[in-house]
């Protein structure tokens, strides 16, 4: 593979088979399907427990009856979990949507510059930017929290939006740089330059409109990572003003947790990202591939 697998739209095409599956039925083929099915069941097992438990109540919920279907199906735990999680559920949208939009715009601008303007030292600058996406955030958390406290910035969603946008710059820059480097023809930019358009105008008028596939990938990526984040959340917010991961952890991590409500809560928490995955799967995978720098 060359440098391109980070490019935005095609990853699923690259995953799709180049040729039709051979229609052979022999022992080897049966074994293959058997194996594929067994793994399918294993992967789905935790999901099964989550779903059945969330509809149970009372004595139905127990360690030994984990795998059983509910004796009586009830929505009580869903209601309880929803009542606990609702405020943070809404707050997490207020977190993840701005993060997704802002970081994508920043990423697009950076990616465009880095893909076209080969200024001296561009490679080093790019590598320094990339390193930022691999660091363990603990290494910045102590001063970060001190800054937030000293400046009197209230903990909560606004602070988290800022932080996710800053630390999302590397990955978004990477995705767009590779997208522009592989999909935007040099001639297009050359033509704009001949017409006397400056960098900013070229970017705004010509590049942005053809950047939708890149945006889809970064929006999904940033939305998902902001939605699923726990580390920044635990450092910079609390159950009263933080995102849903904090609220879920409080619900499920209590001394004697209500298992049915916890499982319903875990499902509620996962719903938005799972929905994104199911509806926009091909671009979601594109985002995942982007994390590999190149492959």
């Amino acid at each position: 593979m060359t440098t391109t697998s980070i490019e935005a739209p095609p990853p699923v095409e690259t995953l799709a088979p180049a040729r039709k599956p051979r229609q052979k039925s022999g022992p080897a083929s049966i074994f293959k399907y058997l194996l594929a099915l067994i793994f399918l069941i294993i992967v789905l097992m935790p999901m099964y427990v989550l779903i059945v438990t969330s509809f149970k109540s009372g004595a139905d919920i127990g360690v030994t009856s984990q795998w059983n279907l509910p004796e009586t199906w009830t929505l009580a735990s869903w209601e309880k979990a929803w009542n606990v999680l609702r405020p943070s559920f809404i707050r997490t949208f207020e977190l993840a949507i701005p993060v997704a939009v802002i970081s994508s715009l920043i990423g697009a601008a950076n990616g465009f510059v880095l893909s076209r303007w080969r200024f001296p030292g561009a490679d080093i600058v790019f590598t320094l930017i990339l390193f930022g996406m691999f660091i363990p955030y603990q290494a910045v958390m102590i001063p970060l929290r001190e800054i937030v406290t000293t400046l009197g910035i209230p903990p909560g969603i606004t602070t988290l939006v800022f932080v996710h946008c800053v630390y999302g710059i590397p990955i978004c820059t990477l995705i767009f740089r590779n997208y522009y480097a592989t999909t935007v023809p040099e001639e297009l930019i050359e033509a704009a330059r001949v017409d006397g358009a400056g960098l900013l105008r070229t970017f705004g008028r010509i590049i942005l409109p053809i950047s939708i596939p890149g945006f889809v990938v970064t929006v999904i990526w940033q939305f998902t990572s902001a939605w699923n984040d726990y580390l920044f959340a635990i450092f910079l917010s609390n159950t009263r003003n933080g995102p849903i991961t904090i609220a879920l952890n409080a619900l499920a991590g209590a001394q004697s947790p209500d298992y049915a409500a916890s499982m319903a809560g875990a499902l509620i928490t996962s719903l938005p990202t799972l929905l994104v995955y199911v509806l926009l799967g091909r671009w979601f995978i594109g985002g995942l591939m982007a994390g590999s720098v190149k492959s």
Binding site: T2, T14, L15, T64, A109, L128, A139, P143
Partner: protein, 297 residues
């Protein structure tokens, strides 16, 4: 002047990000480093510079060798997690590569755990890895019992020696699909001519994979290892969610958090910097290597 006209607008567009990253990545790392060589062991602030004392004390003078213990936990977790996720990822990719009907469906299911947060999946894994055995067994132990594999029933992460290996199970569940996607893209990226040429030479299927296809996947395997490896070293959410912070399953990322709760900033900073160095040892050569490859391409 002409140079400035040429580079100027680009740099202008790039500069806010560069400034932010310079401050919030490199500046804050420098700040953490400074705290790690100070004696800021409580909320009262620092009185002075103590050199590398906080670092050496982690290795020589930590109660019950807590830090070395957390490193051992991390090592065991990382080995099991990497081996497991690479194995299943490659196997799944291989099965799909061999051609399966409804491939898209299998791919979607294998990959979906990636969309779930560790915090949410931890809720169910905590329950699946219930240590009860025999008649009281639930979760994984009940499955093993049902299959007649009672001897394999385990106390999972509560086992003091091998607990961290069990902690890797949810991580493997969550990320094998990702490795599969990487390998599948690798398989599909191999030019058809290569396969045809091998077939013309009369190579058997085994030799085709052994000598032609698998060697082509080395860069993919390297990428996958690096990504999983650095995720593993930062592992925090999953363990917090499955076991909560506790001695048995403590890794450096959690030790930092626990130390901060006691306001021992200098010590927490020292652990963070060691964690950063561990990640850097893996990532920096990889970034340099990638950069060079790209130039050659």
């Amino acid at each position: 002047m002409r140079k400035l006209r040429h580079w100027g607008p680009g740099l202008l567009l790039l500069s806010p990000s560069l400034i932010l990253l310079a401050i919030f990545v490199y500046g804050l790392i420098a700040w953490t480093t400074k705290v790690s060589v100070s004696d800021e062991h409580n909320a009262l602030g620092s009185k002075g510079f103590v050199g590398l004392e906080n670092y050496t004390r982690l290795f020589t003078d930590d109660i019950n060798d807590r830090f070395t213990h957390s490193l051992k936990n991390l090592l065991l977790f990382t080995v099991v997690f990497l081996v497991g996720a690479m194995f299943f990822g490659l196997l799944w990719a291989f099965i799909l590569e061999r051609g399966v009907k409804a491939e898209g469906f299998f791919r979607t299911v294998y990959l979906f755990p990636m969309a779930v947060s560790f915090v949410a999946s931890g809720v169910v894994w905590r329950w699946l890895m219930n240590p009860n055995k025999g008649d009281n067994a639930g979760g994984l132990n009940a499955v093993l019992g049902g299959l007649g594999l009672d001897f394999a029933q385990s106390t999972w992460w509560t086992n003091p020696t091998w607990g961290m290996a069990s902690m890797a199970i949810p991580a493997i569940w969550q990320l094998s699909g990702y490795v599969m996607a990487l390998f599948l893209a690798g398989f599909r990226g191999i030019p058809a001519e290569l396969r045809e040429a091998a077939a013309m030479d009369g190579a058997s299927t085994y030799r085709l994979y052994r000598n032609v296809i698998f060697p082509q996947l080395t860069p993919v395997a390297l990428s996958a290892l690096i990504i999983l490896g650095h995720m593993s070293m930062k592992m925090f959410d999953l363990i917090m969610s499955v076991s909560g912070p506790q001695w048995l399953t403590e890794v450096p990322a959690i030790y930092v958090w626990q130390t901060l709760l006691t306001s021992d900033y200098a010590k927490a900073a020292a652990i963070s910097i060691i964690l950063l160095l561990l990640v850097a040892v893996v990532i920096v050569p990889y970034l340099i290597y990638t950069n060079r490859q790209e130039k050659n391409a």
